[in-house]
């Protein structure tokens, strides 16, 4: 950790970490939310759309029914007229006017009335366009059609006709012997249209009527409202349907319903054309709510990534402090041992010097010569070198943060560690240390200091587990490109619930003040750093085996 680093976010490493967290959080939070939001908006819009479609369809249906009924009534009026007024001789002008008045009473949409008595000549006429009297209709399409067909009536498309005023014609016939009488009337479509669009249902829609060709009938403007395709597409005899046109500047969506009386269709389109903009305006609340959620999520992600990085930083800080503490703890544990190990030889030296002082003291009258003192000198020297040996071993424990990998023979590393230092310590507790090296001449690339520390930790734990009287076996073995070092003890073992926790920092089973709970966690870290692993097996009451596996060089 950098000492000067009080704001972790300034550090490059943490900036990178934050970037990673941001990406992960965005993937974890925002992406699914976005998908959900889009999904729901889509669902919502299509639901609303379905509702709208349903509405259009029902308007189209009801309006076409109304129109059908209207036309049926008008046809009925005319059929009634032709049936009751039937005469071979024809009518005089007054009679015709009376008939016209009757019709007009039935519906204001009737414009005129004309009578044909077996020929194509309109022999009697009453209406605004009096020049139509005696006009020959025999070549008119509707007239020919009416005579040819079985049905008694026909309804024309709306056309400007001679009067240049949009109207349509209903013709009815009555066959009397060899002659066919015909009554025709022109009707004003504007009256019908006003009737259709006045309904409350049709307030928010545009209603129009088209013929088979897709040409506008009502409102009467020239040109095609829709292509004829939708008639053709519905050959399955359905009388109504929905057309969604992708192309076309207006009326991209409309419902249609065929009339039964004539080849017209009622077309109902939304009042406003459906565009992306109209969708946006209509679903403004949904979209803005989604946007709000996204903004909130972004803010959350932004701050969460920050706190995550700070957490990470604190964790690193604690970890480095732990390592430091562990180092201190190891030194603390060591120094107690060192005090004992060095205290004894120092005491011997003090005693030997005292002995020689006694010899030199004339009051004791020992009469000793310097030669006689030789064994005492030797004892002093032995003690001095005993101390030196301890300081040398101590240096093994000076651990540095960086790993200095060096190829070495694992057995030699262990021997260096075990020779003298542990044997003395363990013999005090009546613990026998057995070396069982099966890995012959096994080279590993390790930091010997750090691995030694691991082994020291394991042996210390083993000794604590045994307490008194037992054996600790240090074994080495070559196993699939790994050198494994095992420390086997005949101690108390580790219970199942504790074995999962032993590598957790500060977890200790030793009495207060005895263990720091750091030895195994630090060991774990060291072995991991070496690319190896540390395993444990234990039978409570029988003992434990700790195995350190290191990749061999």
């Amino acid at each position: 950790m950098n000492e000067t680093n009080d704001n972790p976010l300034k550090d490059k490493r943490y900036r990178e970490l934050r970037r990673q967290y941001l990406v992960k959080l965005i993937l974890a939070y925002i992406a699914p939310s976005l998908i959900l939001i889009v999904f729901f908006i889509y669902q919502y819009i299509s639901l609303a759309h379905a509702g709208q479609v349903q509405h259009l369809l029902s308007v189209a249906e009801s309006q076409s029914k109304i129109l059908d009924i209207f036309l049926k009534e008008r046809v009925g009026n005319l059929i009634n007229l032709i049936d009751t007024s039937f005469t071979v001789a024809g009518h005089n002008a007054e009679e015709v006017k009376n008939y016209y008045d009757d019709l007009k009473r039935n519906s204001g949409s009737f414009i005129d009335v004309g009578f044909f008595y077996g020929s194509g000549i309109q022999e009697n006429y009453y209406g605004p366009e009096s020049f139509l009297v005696n006009r020959d209709y025999s070549s008119e399409e509707w007239f020919k059609k009416l005579l040819a067909q079985k049905k008694r009536y026909t309804i024309t498309d709306i056309y400007p006709g001679l009067r240049n005023k949009p109207h349509f014609t209903i013709g009815v016939k009555k066959i009397a012997g060899s002659r066919t009488h015909v009554v025709k009337s022109s009707l004003d479509p504007e009256k019908i249209y006003g009737y259709l669009t006045a309904a409350e249902k049709s307030m928010d829609v545009k209603i129009s009527i088209v013929n088979r060709e897709g040409e506008y009938q009502l409102p009467h403007v020239s040109g095609r409202a829709v292509s004829r395709d939708f008639f053709r597409l519905n050959k399955e005899n359905s009388s109504k349907g929905i057309v969604k046109k992708v192309k076309g500047e207006n009326g991209s969506l409309f419902a249609w319903c065929l009339l039964t009386e004539t080849d017209w269709a009622v077309i109902v389109a939304p009042d406003r054309p459906v565009t992306l903009k109209s969708i946006f305006i209509e679903y403004c609340n949904v979209i803005s709510a989604s946007f709000f959620i996204l903004v909130v999520l972004c803010v959350v992600v932004f701050f969460r990534s920050k706190t995550m990085v700070i957490d990470e930083y604190n964790k690193d800080l604690v970890k480095s402090q732990l390592e430091q503490a562990s180092k201190l703890a190891t030194i603390g544990e060591l120094s107690a041992g060192i005090a004992h190990e060095i205290g004894n030889p120092l005491n011997i030296i003090a005693n030997e010097v005292g002995m020689m002082q006694d010899y030199a003291d004339p009051s004791f009258k020992t009469g000793m010569t310097l030669q006689d003192m030789e064994p005492h000198f030797q004892k002093i020297l032995n003690s001095v070198f005993r101390c030196k040996d301890i300081t040398r071993k101590l240096l093994t424990f000076v651990r540095s943060d960086k790993i200095h990998l060096k190829e070495c023979d694992i057995n030699n590393v262990l021997d260096d560690l075990l020779d003298g230092f542990f044997e003395k310590e363990l013999s005090l507790k009546n613990i026998e240390l057995i070396r069982n090296y099966k890995a012959g001449n096994s080279k590993v690339k390790i930091d010997a200091n750090q691995i030694s520390q691991v082994i020291v930790n394991l042996i210390t734990n083993a000794a604590d587990a045994i307490e008194k009287n037992g054996t600790i076996t240090i074994g080495t073995e070559m196993k699939n490109n790994c050198v494994s070092i095992s420390v086997t003890d005949t101690g108390s073992g580790i219970s199942q619930e504790k074995i999962d926790k032993i590598f957790i920092p500060f977890f200790t089973t030793k009495p207060a003040g005895k263990g720091t709970g750091l030895g195994l966690s630090v060991s774990y870290g060291i072995v991991e750093n070496h690319g190896g692993r540390i395993k444990v097996e234990s039978i409570p009451g029988k003992g434990s085996i700790f195995t350190v596996e290191l990749p061999s060089a």
Binding site: H340, G343, N344, N347, A350
Partner: protein, 167 residues
């Protein structure tokens, strides 16, 4: 008739044992050495010791166990702990178990002698706890000796004589 103060020294450092025994013998103590706890417990069966000098960290029986055993079996024996393991906890535990003194190695020889003297004095006071006459004599004898550093041995000698007279 006991002539000398009987010391039992228990330590696993044989080099130390030889030398300290020799030096204490030169100062008029009767010294027995034991290199571990079992030997020490064996030794106290056949002979009465006034004072034991005991190491704490030893293979086999450790100092604590030996101390417990000695204090249980021998009412008037005083034990001085000599150890390189100088923790406060250990000193506290030992004094709870009835050790008279606690010296950490390395120590000054005079310190040891002075401790032995004090221990012996304590031993006598305990021994004559119910004998006012003797207690008076001990105090009188102690009062007659000049209080100087090197006088610990002389004082011991006086005390020893007093003890022996009684026997």
């Amino acid at each position: 008739m006991q002539e000398k103060i009987n010391l039992l020294i228990i330590d696993d450092e044989e080099d130390f044992l030889d030398t300290i025994a020799k030096r204490l013998e030169m100062r008029g103590f009767d010294v027995t050495t034991a290199s571990d706890g079992y030997k020490a417990l064996e030794a106290v069966k056949s002979k009465k010791y006034d004072i034991a000098l005991l190491d704490l960290k030893m293979p086999g029986l450790d100092g604590f166990e030996v101390l417990r055993e000695l204090k249980r079996e021998h009412k008037y024996i005083e034990v001085i702990i000599l150890t390189a393991h100088g923790s406060v906890e250990a000193a506290f535990d030992c004094s709870k178990l009835g050790a008279y003194g606690f010296l950490t190695k390395p120590y000054r020889f005079e310190e040891l002698i002075s401790n032995i003297k004090d221990a012996y004095e304590t031993r006598l006071k305990k021994k004559f706890e119910n004998d006012d006459d003797m207690l008076q004599k001990v105090y009188a004898r102690l009062a007659g000796i000049p209080l100087e550093a090197e006088s610990a041995l002389d004082m011991l000698e006086e005390l020893r004589k007093l003890d022996n007279d009684e026997k």
